[in-house]
Symmetry: C2
Subunit: 193 residues, 2 copies
């Protein structure tokens, strides 16, 4: 795991996300503490997916919650005002609720069809990114199905950053793939694992 995160940082990732839906809490905390040390040393952000308890325990920079996770307003209360709260939004109503709950960024996606997560849902397209960009000042992070080839048009539509899971992990040379993506988007690349 460390190898993947380190390689992603080498390639230009500015955010590392700890994501593991099957590990025990003990294991998550151990992984999180290792990533915390790495990300602090390398000056990149650490965001914990779903688990606010783990985010607080390892002193992560923030947490990201989806629609099956902690409701955003409770997540914000637990995290306090300083830590970063990201919230996944797949439609306008979810986006509005997330903004009202105090989300620091919205995770929007999947933009394109994706094979990384089976439960990722129906692709929303770049139109949705554009629609949110016009409505809210909250930064949008595009997630799902994004490759070096289509990253440009996602940024064009108004995404402040892009999150990559499959594109980087499936690539043989992780650092090179991340670098290619970072170049393509000329923006932040978030690396989930």
């Amino acid at each position: 795991m460390l190898t993947v995160a380190e390689a992603a940082i080498e390639g230009g990732a500015t955010v590392i996300q700890l994501r593991d839906k099957v590990a025990s809490t003990r294991k998550l905390v151990e992984e999180g503490l290792v990533l915390r040390e790495l990300t602090r040393r390398r000056g990149v952000l650490l965001i914990v997916n779903d688990r606010i308890d783990v985010a607080l325990a390892v002193d992560a920079d923030g947490a990201h919650v989806g629609q099956d996770d902690m409701p955003a307003h409770l997540a914000r209360r637990l995290l306090g005002p300083e830590r970063i709260l990201g919230v996944s939004a797949g439609n306008l109503e979810e986006a509005r609720a997330a903004v009202e709950a105090g989300a620091d960024y919205l995770g929007i996606g999947p933009i394109y069809p994706t094979r990384g997560k089976l439960d990722a849902g129906v692709p929303v397209g770049t139109q949705f990114v554009l629609g949110l960009k016009l409505r809210y000042a909250t930064p949008l992070v595009a997630i799902g199905g994004i490759t070096a080839e289509n990253a440009g048009e996602v940024i064009q539509a108004g995404a402040a950053g892009i999150a990559v899971i499959t594109a980087v992990v499936n690539a043989e040379d992780i650092a090179a793939a991340a670098r290619k993506l970072a170049t393509a988007s000329s923006s932040k690349v978030e690396k989930g694992e």
Copy 2:
């Protein structure tokens, strides 16, 4: 689920534990909020197993962590000094660490062979309860394999309370079974689910 918790309270349970290792965080929070309303109305304690985030989100009275969950000292830090922290201990070393981390009670077990949890481990017997009772002032809650028939000797050995999972849930009349256990132990009965 509500039915089981309500029946357990009818039968004399003074603590309800929310325990679900497979539910999504969203589901756990929803279940926890329902149990919080019930337990508050009935004047019994609500303890959340493993998930400190859920315990904080639903304003539970405390949390219980096992050896695969959040390390006890981190759990204590996240819960704050007021909420109850229970820690499972299966041997002397784990018990000592839990006491040092500020556990309000130790979950000791399984005392007897159990069929409720496959990962419950080797039975520690009442001798272990007695050994801890002599060493520490921290209340001991006995867990695992306890029935109306053997509850008395567990209390005799020094347990402040007993936690029941299979004994109550397997019984056809939950309230009656809990009542029988409460009578047998003449002490607190914790009801996990």
